[in-house]
Symmetry: C2
Subunit: 481 residues, 2 copies
């Protein structure tokens, strides 16, 4: 049904990175060797600086090389292979529901502990946020807004913010305008409004598996049944599995996180996105697309959204800046397609309007290129962190550990030896001041007991390396090694 988009393997930088990778694996370059400088490779190969940089970035992402500031690129590939990637999940279609609420509550109740290393929080730490610039924008907003933003805003949302979000949609090949957007109190609120618009208690929604536990809790609080779909840690939900699930007519709504899914870090290929949109359109099942992490990509460009393939208004595209600028501002949005009027009414009934000032601050941030500027730094920090985390897991965790290769976002999915129970690993870790997220939190079924999610939205340093070392030791202990 779907037509494949032109393969990315045609890009020059990918050809280059593949050649160098082969040489590294063949031992032409050895661990510690310095690679040719970007400038010299440009000249040699007759290609642009950015192509070389992108090729090196690709290799860095694969943990084959590393950049040392003021020095250059070095081979970091060593005798031991990086851990393999987990396989696609196999949730059951008929499993009994078993809520992970007690575990979730336990993990949350500990988060306020002094000195805790919160590897369980999938948000950027304070140090990664542009606080001073946001403050400046807040003062400007108070000066410029009528009544300094004390008055009620339009129900649909602050118009300049809607305009900026619409403009920003160009980055994922969207073609929205300000009338398409409704602002919300963060992305969860966008998901909540979308689900409340489309479903009633007793309906079934289809989601990825593992899936962010907040989505499970939201769905259950609305009395919804949840169908978990097989999901691949690199490519996300399989279109065929989705088709099989919606064919029966029982699925009322599909809710997916196609870009840098939490907790897998997977990114659905464009061809899959297109196919998913076509399938859901065909079967008349609306798609709620949670694109919260899309701006935090490690590749060469922002991935497209499913919404960019949506021609009928069947996709409700949700986003926010809670993961990139200011979680505490509670600014998010949804482009609800043909469900716009119903969703605006619901927003009005349940909260009248969104807070004015935070919306104005985010609008000005998007407008002046400050957002893109900030993202560039955030992305490269997170990409390096992901690499460090994967390497640390490879070093400190037992053989047989599998780790996702996030292509963006904040989190790593780690699959341990099936004998390790991450619920009990959690207890051991919290005693050492480390908070992890047990895999069982990401499903309503009895699965992922031996998995966990680690957030790398922190500043990398020796202490963090040591934290992962201690965590690895605990895993060894759980295995009785």
């Amino acid at each position: 049904m779907a037509v494949l988009s032109p393969s990315r393997t045609d890009f020059r930088y990918l050809q280059l990175s593949r050649s160098i990778e082969q040489q590294i694996r063949d031992g032409v370059w050895k661990c510690g060797d310095k690679l040719p400088s970007v400038r010299s490779l440009c000249r040699e190969q007759g290609i642009s600086m950015s192509t070389v940089l992108q090729a090196y970035l690709e290799l860095e992402k694969k943990a084959l090389i590393e950049s040392r500031p003021q020095s250059g690129y070095y081979v970091s590939y060593w005798h031991r292979q990086l851990p393999p990637v987990p396989g696609a999940s196999q949730p059951s279609a008929l499993s009994e529901v078993s809520e992970p609420d007690d575990m979730i509550r336990k993990v949350y109740s500990q988060l306020g502990r002094e000195g805790l290393v919160p590897l369980s929080l999938s948000v950027p730490c304070d140090a990664l946020l542009p606080v001073a610039k946001l403050n400046k924008a807040m003062i400007a907003a108070m000066r410029e807004l009528p009544g300094s933003g004390t008055g009620y805003e339009e129900v649909q949302g602050y118009r300049p913010l809607r305009r900026q979000v619409a403009r920003w949609s160009l980055s994922w090949q969207g073609h929205l305008n300000e009338e398409d957007i409704v602002t919300t109190a963060g992305c969860m609120n966008a998901l909540s409004l979308s689900l409340m618009t489309l479903t009633r208690a007793g309906d079934t929604i289809a989601v990825e598996s593992p899936v962010y536990f907040g989505i499970l809790q939201l769905a259950r609080s609305l009395g919804l049944h949840v169908l978990e779909l097989p999901t691949h840690p690199q490519t996300g939900v399989e279109p065929d599995a989705l088709r099989a699930a919606v064919k029966g007519g029982k699925v009322k709504v599909c809710l997916l996180v196609p870009n840098f899914n939490n907790p897998l870090g997977s990114c659905m290929p464009d061809a899959h996105k297109k196919e998913v949109v076509e399938i859901l359109e065909y079967y008349g099942v609306p798609l709620i697309e949670d694109d919260l992490y899309g701006d935090v990509y490690f590749g060469d460009a922002r991935p497209r959204s499913c919404k960019s393939y949506d021609e009928s208004g069947n996709v409700l595209w949700c986003g926010s800046v809670s993961k990139t600028l200011a979680p505490g501002y509670r600014v998010g949005w949804v482009a609800p397609g043909r469900h716009k009027e119903a969703l605006i009414r619901l927003k009005h009934y349940h909260s009248i309007a969104s807070a004015t000032l935070p919306q104005a601050v985010i609008a000005s941030f998007l407008e002046n290129g400050r957002y893109e500027h900030h993202l560039r730094r955030l992305r490269s920090t997170l990409q390096a962190n992901a690499f460090q985390f994967i390497r640390a897991v490879s070093r400190y965790f037992p053989e047989g550990t599998r780790v996702s290769r996030p292509q963006g976002g904040f989190v790593l999915w780690v699959e341990l030896d099936p004998r390790v129970q991450t619920a009990s690993l959690y207890d051991a870790a919290i005693r050492q001041g480390i908070s992890i997220t047990p895999g069982r939190m990401f499903t309503l079924q009895q699965q992922y007991h031996h998995c966990m999610r680690l957030s790398y939205g922190h500043i990398w340093n020796a202490e963090l390396d040591n934290t992962l070392k201690r965590l690895g030791r605990l895993v060894h202990l759980e295995l009785g090694a």
Copy 2:
């Protein structure tokens, strides 16, 4: 069942005001006469300044006297009686549902019109808000909060705000502490969370009648049935009517606005509040108390809330500063009693947390006495406005018009000759740039067609007087006079 609290008629200032009222009605004092100065009355009667002032305030509220700045108090009672107060409402228990949504949408769609006099908006106009002081508090909050408030706040809400709201509860004889409070995105969001915590689609809730249309829309969006209770424009819902309604066991939740109900302006007497709490406790029906307007009283003290009589945690007390400080901040709260844990969970699932900075600003406002200072001015402005509006209606509207006597809040309920349809009056008024709220919006039944709500949350001036004059002329025209 209920024991009457000591009658207010014992207060000295009320005795004084009654004596003067009698003299005015008896013609001892005539329209335009200057009353004794506050100081001289003090001396004569051997009472305190504040007692005299309160007595004069009482008379002012009844439109018997008026204060002229720098001059004193003058009798303003004139040959024509003030219009009578409407009787208690008589909604049917068995009426078919008829949604007023189209009319509500029509009224809202016109609100953005340039130059409109929005007598349909029950909020204070910008000029009545302490904008500069709020801005100052915002800058201080950015300086003082960790991460300048960019981080996620506790789900239950910003602790200093919860503490201040708890302290403030002393003003209505509450005894809350910071653990009792959950912050929300405004009062409607508090009502929404409360209803979602307590009900499922198909349940029935009992409300006042007429009732704020937003409550009807919220309830309908959750699939709830609405039972409208007979309500008196001065004392609110009759406890006996409530008892009869909940006796049957069909009412799942009761949602009332006991203080300065919108649209009636009624204030339930303490004895009724106590009785209502006892009835609902006895029948196991939770009470959601919307106390949004409680701080905007025209009397000598803030009225108590039903919550102040609640010993078992059966009352969910909701409030906000949307009507007093900053609608656009979206800061509200609920003290959910024994339903706290369930409500916090729901808040978490649907919106993660509330925006941090606006909560911090409101907390500091409450803490430093700036709120009380602001309220004093706001109350006296609104009380004077209410008086001016009632007098204008009395002057310009046809004989037979009835008007509520709000004891606080922002709105007037006007009952016209039954031959006047306020839906068509709305059309005529909007053509003249005046927006009113037709009575039909405040019910799901076929009633209040000849009623309307007028908001006096504006700065009073000759233009506004003229607006009411023009409106009165339109009513005359509708009557064919």
